[in-house]
Each structure stands twice: as C-alpha cells, then as structure tokens.
Amino acid sequence: MKQLVTLLCFFLGTTSLLVAQSYNISGQVKDEAGEPLAGVTVVVKNTIRGTTTGNDGRFTLQVPGPDAVLVFSYTGYTQQEVPVNAQRELDVTLVESGSALGEVVVVGFGTAYRQDLTGSIAKLSSKEFEFQPVQTFENAIQGRAAGVFINSGSGKLGQGLNIRVRGISSVSAGNQPLFVIDGIPVISERIGSATEPDNPLATIAPEDIESIEILKDAAAAAIYGARASNGVVLVTTKSGRSGRTKVSFGLYGGWASPTRKRKWLNAAEYRELFTYAAQQSDFGELDAAEEFASETGTDDWNSNYDTNWADEAFQPAGVRNASLSITGGDARTTFLISGTFNDQTGILRGNAMDRLTGRINLDHKASNRLRFGTNLSLIKSLNQRVPSDNAFSNPLQLNALPPIQPKIDPNTGKLNQNTLYYNNLIDLENGFNNATTYRSLSNIYGQWDITDRLSFRSEYGIDWLNLQEEQFRGRETLDGAPTGESYSNQVNVLNQNVNNFLQYVQKFGQNFDLNATIGMQYQSGNYRETSSTGQGLPNDRFTKIASAAKIVQGASNESAYAFTSYFARANVKLFDRFLVGLSGRVDGSSRFGKNNRFGFFPAGSLGYVMSNESFLRDNKIVNFLKLRASYGSTGNAEIGNFAWRSLWGANFVGDLSGIVPTRIGDENLTWETTNQLNVGIDFGLFNDRISASFDYFDKRTKGLLLNLPLPASNGFTSITKNIGDMTNTGYEFVLTTQNLVGKFRWTTNFNISTYRNKVTNMNGSTIDGGSRQLGRVSEGQPFGYFWGPKYAGVNPDNGNAQYYDTDGNILDQDDFLALPDEKRNQIVGNPHPDFFGGMNNRFSYMGFSLDVQLQFVYGNDLYNIAGFFQSVNGDYFDNQSKDQLNYWRQPGQITNIPEPRLYSGNGAIKSSRWVQDGSYLRVRALTFGYTLPRSLTSRVRMENLFVYVAAQNLFTFTKYDGYDPEVNATYVSAVNLGHDFYTPPQARIITLGLNASF
C-alpha cells in the first residue's frame, strides 16, 4: 500500500505544471465528399487532452501552444496529424481508407490507437451491424470477430448464447467471457429458475451500442485479471455530440420462419412402418392396431386422421422495431436521449418477447480540466417463454406424436387429450410462462485532468436487474392437473462497481513515449430470489397464488460476492517503432479461499513496427508491418461464491428444522489460471488496399476446479479443488481488402480461426455426459469429445443393427452388448470445429449499398439425442423421420436403417448412429439499402434517409439433417456440447426498414 502512495506522489510530483500560452482552437472535420464527420477523435499529441467532433463535424479544443500537433482518428479513415501552426481555426479532410490502423480502440481503463497495440483485440463498430435485425448484440459478433466462436444454441427468443473466445478454458467454472459495458462489469450469468434461463444481455438494445471490443490475449485482458481467462467483451454505448440537435429515427418490421423444417412420416407411411415393425417384433408377431390401442387407449389406428404434428410446433412469426435517438449540445454539454422498442413473435408456438429501453447519456465540461457525465438506462422486457427442450410441453416435441391421431378430439371438440404423448398445445391454451425483466445499467463519472499529462477518473456504476418469473398451468395441462398450479419467482440482482484510476502520458526526449495507467476497482454483487408455488385454484381464470388453496413451495435465498482489485499498465514506444507493454493486476475476492485470497496477474508484450524502419519506409508495396508477441496470466473466478467454505445448512424433520454439513471446503481453493502466449503480425499492402493480421495463441490453463472423491465414511463424498489442466492452441487470420475504391466501392472482410482444445490433467478422473449423452471429459482428449458405441450399420443377412468393438470388429447388437464396457466404448466424434469464421462483402454505388455477411463452421460433430425416439426404425410408436422408411426388409439389402421390430430395441442403444457432421455455411446477414439523395431529402428538411431490406439467416448450407446445425441443447450438462434434443431451429428473418435523421 505504501508503495502505491509513493507511486502516486511520483506521478503527480514529476508532472510539469500548466503550460503557458494555451489557447482554444476550433475547426471542422469533413470527408472527401465534403460531408461533416461526426464522432472523430481529436487529441493533442502526447497529451491526454482531446475531444470528439459534434454532429456538424465541429470541434473546439484547448491546445497548450502554437506548436502543438493535433491527431485526428476515425474508424475506416486514415489517421492524420496536423500541426496547429498558431492557427485558431483548422479545417481537416479525412480520407476514407478502410484501414483500421488509425482507429481508436477501447482497452480496459483507457483507449489506444490500433497501430500502437501489442495485444490481440477484435473491434466491431456499430456501423457494421446497425441494420441487422438481431435481437441481442452478441448475435452481431457472430462470424465477424476472429477467434470468437458463437453458437446461438437454439431458436428460442431471449436464450443465452454460447460465446467462446479462443476455445474452452474451464470444465466447471464457466466459459462465457466477462462483459463490461461502459466500464462496468455486468450481469451476464444466467439467472432465474428455468432449466434454460434467460440471457441477461438480451435486455440491451443493439441500437445503443457504439462499439464492441473483444480482448483476446493476455496483454489485452490481464488488466481484468482474475476474470479475464475467457476473454473480455467491452461494450461502449453511444454518446452525445455537440452541434445542431440531431434526431434519428429507425423503423423496421418483418417476417420470421424456421431456417428448416424436417420431414416426418404421414399417416399411410406410419401405418406401413409400424405394421411391419409389429410383425417383426421380438415379442412374437404382434398386431400393430392392437398394440397401438393398448399404448394409447384409442382406436385411432383404424381412423382416418393424418395430422402434421411437427408443423403445429411453429407459428407465423415476425419482428417490429422502432428506435429514436436525439443528440446535441454545445461545447460544454452534450447529450444523447434514446428509446427503442422491439417486439418479436417467435417461430415456436407460444414464444414471444418484447423489449422497451430508454437511455440518457450526458457529458458536461465544468471547466477545461473537469468533466462529469452519466449514462442512465432503463429497460423492460417481457419474454413469453417456451419450456426447455426436454419437457413434454416443448412444442417441438409434438413431432413425436403419431400422424394417425387427431389434433382435436372429435368427441369433445377440444384439443385431443388422448395422444401417445402429451398434446402440449393444451399448455398454450391453458397456461403461460412469462419472464419480465426490469433493468438499469447506469453510471456516473468524474474526470479531472490534473495536468495535460495526468488525469484522474472516477466511475461508479450499477447494474440492477429484477426478474419476475410467472408461470401458470391450468387444470387441463400435464403439470397443472387436476386443480391448476401457479408459480412465481422474483429475482433481484444488484452489481455495484467503482473504478478509480490515473492516466499519464509523457514524451521523454524524441524517442521515448510513455502511456501509463494505475488504479483500483471494487465490485460487489448481490443476488436475491424469492419463489412460491400454489395449487388448487378455483378455475383457470384465477392465475395468481393468492387464489391458491395450498402453498406447496416457498423459498427465499441470497448470495453475494466482492472483488477488490489494483491494476497498473505502462506502454512505451521507443524510436517510434519498438513497443513495450507491461500490465499487472492484483485481484482479491470473497470467492477465493482464505489462504489464497489475492492473485497477481501480470502480462508483458512487445511490438516492432518494422514499417517505420528506414529500409521499409516509403516502400511501394508494404505500407505497414508490425510484429507482436505477448505473454501473461489471467484467471477465471466463476468458481461459485462460497465454494471454498465448509458449510452447514438447514434440513428438515416434519415441522422442525435442523442443521447438517452441506459441503467440505478447501481453504486454498481459488481461481483457475490461464497463461497465454500470443504472437502475431499485422500488415498493410498497397496503401492499405490489403491489410491483414495473423495470430497464433497457446493458452495453458491450470488449477481447473474438479471434484476429488472422498471416502464417504468421513461424512462427505467429494471436495472441490484446483487440480485440472487444459490447453487451447490456435490460429486466427483476418484479411481486409479494398477491392474497388472510388464511386463503386467493394470491401471484403474475411476471417478464419481455429482452436484445438485438450484436457491434459483430470487427476485420473472422467466426467461423463449421462446415460443418453455422448459428451465426455477425460485426459488427453478435447473437452466434451463424443464417447460411446460406434454404429456399423445393418447386417445385410438379418437386418440386425451392428456396432464396432474397440478392435474394429463388426458385431450384431446382441453380441456387442455382451462385451465388457471397455470393449464397447470408443471415440465417436468431436464437437469442436476444425475451423470457423466469416466473410463480409460490402458494395456501395451512389446511394446504394449491399452488405452480405457469411458465416461458417467446419468439422464439428453433432449428436441428435432425439434419434433414440424419432429415428429408430419404429422401435416405439413415436413418429419417425422420413429416412426411416428405407429400412431393411430382405436378406442382402444394403441400408443403414435396421429392420423395424416393435419394442425390441434393434439399433436403439446409445451410439454414433445419430452423430453427424455439423459443418455449415450460412448467409448470416444481408442488407440492401438505398440512401436517398440529399437534394431530395433536404426538401423535407431531412438530413438523411436510408431505406433497406435486410435478412438474417437467409440461407444455410449443411449436411446435417436435423433442424439446424447451429444447435446446443442447454438442458444437458455442460460437457455435452453439440447435442440436439428437440431443439428449435434458428429463425430466418426478413425485414424492411428505414432510418431517417433530421
């Protein structure tokens, strides 16, 4: 602590005092066409003094003297340094380059120019996704950021996405990156009681976002210390701009449909298959009609219904979105007021979500040296949920119902109650499942520019989230029968965060530039939940627990955590070409065992801008070349709030309560540590017509949290300890080309990435995914590799399903099942892709623009667990996928579908039979738009009018024959990656929209 004080004093003491002769300069920044550019960063070189241009492209800035140099930076434009030369008015024209080198990148606790970066950071600016009809901003990253693998998991609205930055670095402590919005780490963990909980990030309007930065390597992320192992996603919201008040208005609406529907047997095919299956049953020659009658209690086999149950799962879907933002202000105060409304009807029956957001971002300069500001936001969303994939009430499970059964019972005229499985359409008619979220993400800050080189910034932010889950199941429903059931759950989460930090820049002599940051962060999180369930409601018009005769469940609980952290970073530039970065963070957390409460996370990096060497300067081909390397340490602190403690909790006897030990803790338990090496190269050719970067990373994670079995005779069965290791290595390549410049403009962005995950130490243990799942974690293999029996097709002689034993012999199922375990199970797939990435092409001509975003994943395997029921050659009366018709009928027949034998389990064991290649290429987003000529719009006093048609998930190319290759059922445990179980597909959305500003 003493050292810190000394350090602070040092910084303050050595800083030169106010420089004389400072005066105000103002000016305007325009593009080549003469249009004013808003939001351009203007900084006095070698100082912290800076501003951004207003809506009219104008800026005012106090410069220290007549010989100052101003640096103008704007994403997509060449950075310019302009000497003031004692002028008081300075107009600048920036040249569009498509180059990202001069852009300002948000790093933790500060910003940097891309050309000076030594770490690996992907940046996405709002311009790249602003017209994409995404519901949540993470969707916009998909396929656009190298090294960031995103899987939407399912087509349900408001569901959590899987975001993996450079592979998977934890077995049990979570793999989601840390999300930081305007400097405040926000709630991104799943909350609430649903098996597939809501995604808290879906409450944030994409329209409010200015940029998204993803910190990938240790040099970039170590400043976030113990929570940065999975990468850090920094989100910056839009801020106000001075000048004439500008009103922008956006509107879009459209239609949504499933990316794909599957084909199922119709009534005639169903009867054919099951007639055969019954005859061939191991239980003797059965009569299908009789069997069907005894299983369902109906005579439907002999009726004439032909119901397309699978289609009943879907509904006409669409989206409506409106947004309004007003920005303006003067040289001292700028503001942004925005509001958005988004209303989606999901493709899955009963699924809908709407969201209303409001925001005020305000910045005020009290003096040239003192600034204050606030970002205030309020959000309300309502998600009408559908049940989790494995619930009988999941609408997609309707595809299991026999087509020969009617949807409406002809006797009652109501929904048929006598179906093979629950007719879950009853749930929708007779119940609801609503999740309402209220949230405020708000902060205030003060910044004091103590001198031109030293500033102190203090930020306080809150993320308050209130989730209200309400479920009602009427008396006709499966779960609510016979008297109705009502459930209510209130969740309140409050995160508070304080950042205090000093920033310092200094140029020593001609060849030594220093940029340093030192500070502290404190964060506390509190989680409270209260739930209750009532049964016995008078009738289905009473849905609240107050009307319930019996309270059958009630609970309230609370949990909390805190972090106290100190961090420092120094970046040095020598001779304008050697870059050195050092950062360190000390993190203390209530989550870490008392013997291990503070961790230190250092990182170092080097960069060499070779293009600034004399031998490359003014080279005709290479205009930029930089080599980078970094190494450092980060942590994963999502280890549970009290995992290190030994605890006693309540346990009940009749009306009495006692206490029992609930866990034994390891007082050394602490974060998981990742050491990451990154080497990279960035280059620009032909004046940045071609620019590219290439990165190689090697992430080694140690101290993975695993459960060590204990002798139960001591009272406990396991203890959680830091014992496992895993590695992730991979490559990332990003290429940006300006194919055509000038009037007709064509830009291509391409990125491709790989990661190879390997679990290297599990202390000899394995984690298995479950009796029907294939996922497994064990030493020497990638996390979640598929492990189980390997399907070998059908014996042409007898129609038996066949499997490979571990020696490669093909055996009939009965012989195979007689083998011991170790002969039966083997590796049958890998859920990790060989590579993934995306390509964006942007064309513009006159006012027209076309933006096409492709996204691809290659080489991963998927496992359809539902194959047990739906693609199992009529083993039971579930409707079958159409391919099952190609079943074995006669000796000699070569097919992959075993002979149907009702109830006999031929080919019905867990196996690779339902493992498929999950590679896909998707036209993820497409926007075609037209900006009306200014001459036209100015007549109606409109500054800008853009109309467009946009599409999301327009086409998908895949060999996967399930609904959608972008799938990850979340109800199964986390080791089961790439599993599909009646998981709804993504939506294809087509929208028409307009954006206008006045």
Partner: protein, 460 residues
C-alpha cells in the same frame, strides 16, 4: 499540487482498505462450519439435523425398511418397479455400483458425522444436564446407524467364521470431520464383533442419558426407552436372549407405551401410544412423493403410489381370514398397476413412519421367554394373544417357537425386519442360506475407489 496529491492518495488508500474488509462475505443460506456449532442451541439444531438425514429415503425413510424386505422377498413380496437398483436387491444380484447400496452407506455415515460433530463440540455446552442429554442423543444416532450398517454390509453376527474376511464389519467412526484433512482420512473396516461392541456401548450410554419422554414436535426424538428398544434388537440379533428379554421387558414394564386399539392406528395417525421410535413427516418434508418414499413404492391408490412392491399370495395366505392385519392392512391396489395385493401400512406420503412399535417388544419378550423357558413380565402365550386379540385373530391355547416366529412376521411385515430375522433365525430365504454372501450388500464401488484401505465383501 503536492497537497492535492497527498489528499487524493489518502482518500484512495482509505477506500482501498475499506474494500479489503468487504471481501469477507458470509453466506446467508448456510453457515460457515467454523462458526456453525458454537452454542447449545447450535448443537441442538445439529442433533435435529442428524435425525433429518435419518428421515431421508436413503435411511429409515425408505431403504432401511425396503432393502431388508426385498432381500427376503421369496414367497413374500415382489419388486416390479422400473428401478434396476431395487430389482437387483430382490434378485440378490447387486452390482458394486448399486445405487441403493451406495446412497444408504453415504447417508448413514453422513448422519454419523453430524453426531460425532456434536460430540466433539460438547465443551461448548455449560449446562451439565443439557450436555449429558446431547451426548446421549448423539451416541444414540451413532449407535443405531452403525448397527444398521453392520447388519446390511457385513455377514450376520451368527455366521460361521470362515476366515478373516468373513468377520469384516464396517468402519467405526467416532470422530467428527471438520476440515479437509479429516475428510480425507482412509479407515479400515472393523470386525463385526468390534462394531457390535461399539453399538452396545453407545446405546447403553444413550439409555443412561436420554430423557424418559418427549413432547410436542420433539416426539420423533429418542428417549431412554428408544435406546432400550434398540438394545433389545441388537441383543436379539446376537441371539443374546436374556439381555434382549430384559430390555424388551423394561420398555413394556415402563408403561410409557400402550398398544393401540386397532392394528391400523399406528399407520394412520402421528405419534400414537404404541410407537417407540417414529419418523416425523409432513406434507412438505417427507421421504418422497415421486421417486422415493415407502408410500411411493408400496401403495397403489388413486393418485398415490406406484405399486412397485406387491405382496405375494403365499405370505398373505398365512393370515387367518378374520385377522385384521389381513383385512385392514392388506388391500387390492386401485391406483397404478391395480389388482395386486398391497400393504396397507404405507398409504400416505406425509404419514409418520413407525420404526419400532411396542408390539415388537411383546414379540421379542415372548420369543426370549419361550427360548429361556421363563416368564419375565408375562407368559409368552399371553404376550402373543395380546397381539392376536387386538387383530381379531383366534386366541391360541398352546404355543410353539414357530408360532411366535410366524406371529412376528404377521405383525411386523413390511417394517424393515424381514431379512434380519431370517438371518438371526438362520432360516435364509428361497435358495439363499442365511449367511449367503449375496444377502450382504456390496461395499459401494465409489467408496472403495476413494478409500484404498477398504476390502470388498465376499462375492463381489
């Protein structure tokens, strides 16, 4: 400027030091073990906690009843539910990872650990009476659970000694686990003799220190007579008839209990005058309503139970036609899997579960008096007729040992005594001799993996 710098630094430093204190966050839904057992009240809560574990399905809530019944299922009852674990117990082909053998072992030692933690922290109680009572109660819990473990996971007491492995009992745990080191200790199995000696010692201490009665919500807790009743069970299991007789007689002679007027009363009402040890259940806290609990497995009533266990005809036919234990306590199922004979003892999810009833004491006293040719307390014939009279069965005029044994099974069926009686009587079940290795549960596989000092049972 320097002053400002110092000011900022001071403020920042003050703020930081405050934050470090904030890192000490205590959980609110649970209490850290280091401060959980500090007062007599905490220890009292822990004792109730030990009972709560004993109430679970892994112990008296289901398995300590159901496993002994299924192990002796021949000509008696049949498991036809879907759980493979119980089916294996019935078929005597348990695998070493049998889920029931695993969870019962874990839960028993979990409860023993709670009892030992109470014993280890008795110095926190200043009131000597209170301390003695807590000590006695903790030893009661420890004693009966070691007894249940040694009966299920080791050869019978009376099995012939065919080598060192045949006398392997279970580990005796007398120290509580308070930290990781203690939780990792690997212990060996004690001998059957050592375990029984420890059980008897604990129960004698319990007998001496427990109160004579309990009131209100505490009626599920042990009294001195509960300890005596368990002692009589232990002695009887050892074929020590004189001690078993003495303890059974002490319970009866205390007049603390009396037989209910009807055979159903103990299973329809809470804490009747007949039960000596009873589990306390209510609508929310019970042994299970879906995949666990005696009612779930034994009942077949509309909306209640699954009829996973049905009674077989040879056993039902042992009753005389008018015996109310047949007419009132065996019914034909009307719920799931209807049409089979079901026991009427377990018919409601929230019903209390009697573990020891006074009727057992009469049966034990009668058997021991008969074997010892004595009439301590009463004659065997009178004791047996007392129960038969209540059941509206015919009154006997003469008595054989077989009559007493038969009466015992008619009265106490489906209450968890089946295999234990078959073993001590050296009767065996079906084709399995009383000391057959497959009538002993396997030491759970997970336990052997975690504790290399443990030896597996013969036959696994």
């Amino acid at each position: 400027m320097k002053k400002i710098a110092i000011l900022i630094s001071t403020v920042v430093v003050l703020f930081f030091s405050g934050c470090i204190k904030e890192l000490d966050i205590q959980p609110l839904d649970a209490i850290d073990a280091s401060i959980a057992l500090e007062t007599a009240e905490d220890l009292e809560s822990a004792i109730v906690g030990a009972y709560s574990i004993m109430h679970s399905g892994a112990l008296y809530g289901t398995n300590l009843n159901l496993l002994p019944e299924l192990l002796g299922s021949e000509n008696y009852c049949q498991w036809r539910g879907t759980f493979q674990s119980y089916r294996q117990v019935m078929n005597k082909n348990m695998t070493i990872d049998n889920a029931e053998a695993t969870r019962t072992w874990i839960a028993a030692y979990r409860a023993i650990n709670v009892a030992n933690n109470v014993l280890d922290n008795l110095n926190k109680v200043s009131d000597t009476d209170k301390r003695a009572q807590l000590e006695a109660e903790a030893k009661f819990v420890r004693g009966i659970l070691h007894f249940e473990l040694v009966r299920l996971y080791a050869k019978p007491w009376n099995a012939p000694n065919t080598g060192p492995k045949s006398r392997l009992g279970v580990p005796i745990k007398l120290k509580g686990t308070a930290n990781e080191a203690a939780a990792s200790v690997k212990v060996k199995r004690n001998t059957i003799e050592e375990v029984y000696a420890q059980v008897i010692q604990d129960l004698k201490d319990a007998e001496a220190g427990l109160p004579a009665s309990r009131n209100g919500n505490n009626r599920f807790r042990a009294t001195t007579y509960t300890a005596k009743a368990f002692l009589s069970r232990v002695y009887l299991q050892q074929q020590n008839y004189s001690e078993a007789l003495q303890k059974a007689n002490e319970v009866i002679a205390s007049n603390a209990y009396r037989l209910n007027a009807s055979v159903t009363s103990a299973f329809r009402n809470k804490f009747t005058g007949e039960t000596i040890f009873e589990l306390y259940m209510n609508e929310q806290n019970n042994a299970g309503t879906a995949n666990d609990g005696l009612t779930t497995f034994y009942a077949s009533l509309p909306g209640i139970g699954r009829s996973d266990v049905r009674i077989l005809a040879p056993f039902a036919n042992l009753y005389e036609p008018g015996d109310e234990r047949l007419t009132e306590l065996i019914y034909i199922g009307t719920g799931r899997r209807p049409g089979s004979r079901q026991t009427g003892k377990w018919t409601q999810f929230e019903q209390n579960i009697p573990v020891i009833r006074l009727a057992e004491m009469y049966l034990t006293r009668a058997e021991c008096n008969f074997r010892l040719n004595s009439t301590v307390g009463s004659t065997p014939l009178d004791d047996i007729n007392l129960l038969r009279r209540r059941a509206r069965a015919s009154i006997l005029s003469t008595l054989t040992l077989d009559d007493i044994i038969k009466e015992r099974s008619l009265e106490l069926c489906f209450e968890g005594l089946r295999i234990h009686d078959l073993k001590r009587l050296e009767l065996g079940t079906g084709s399995f001799s009383f000391d057959h290795p497959k009538l002993v549960l396997p030491i759970p596989e997970r336990e052997i993996r975690a504790n290399s000092e443990l030896e597996q049972n013969e036959g696994y």
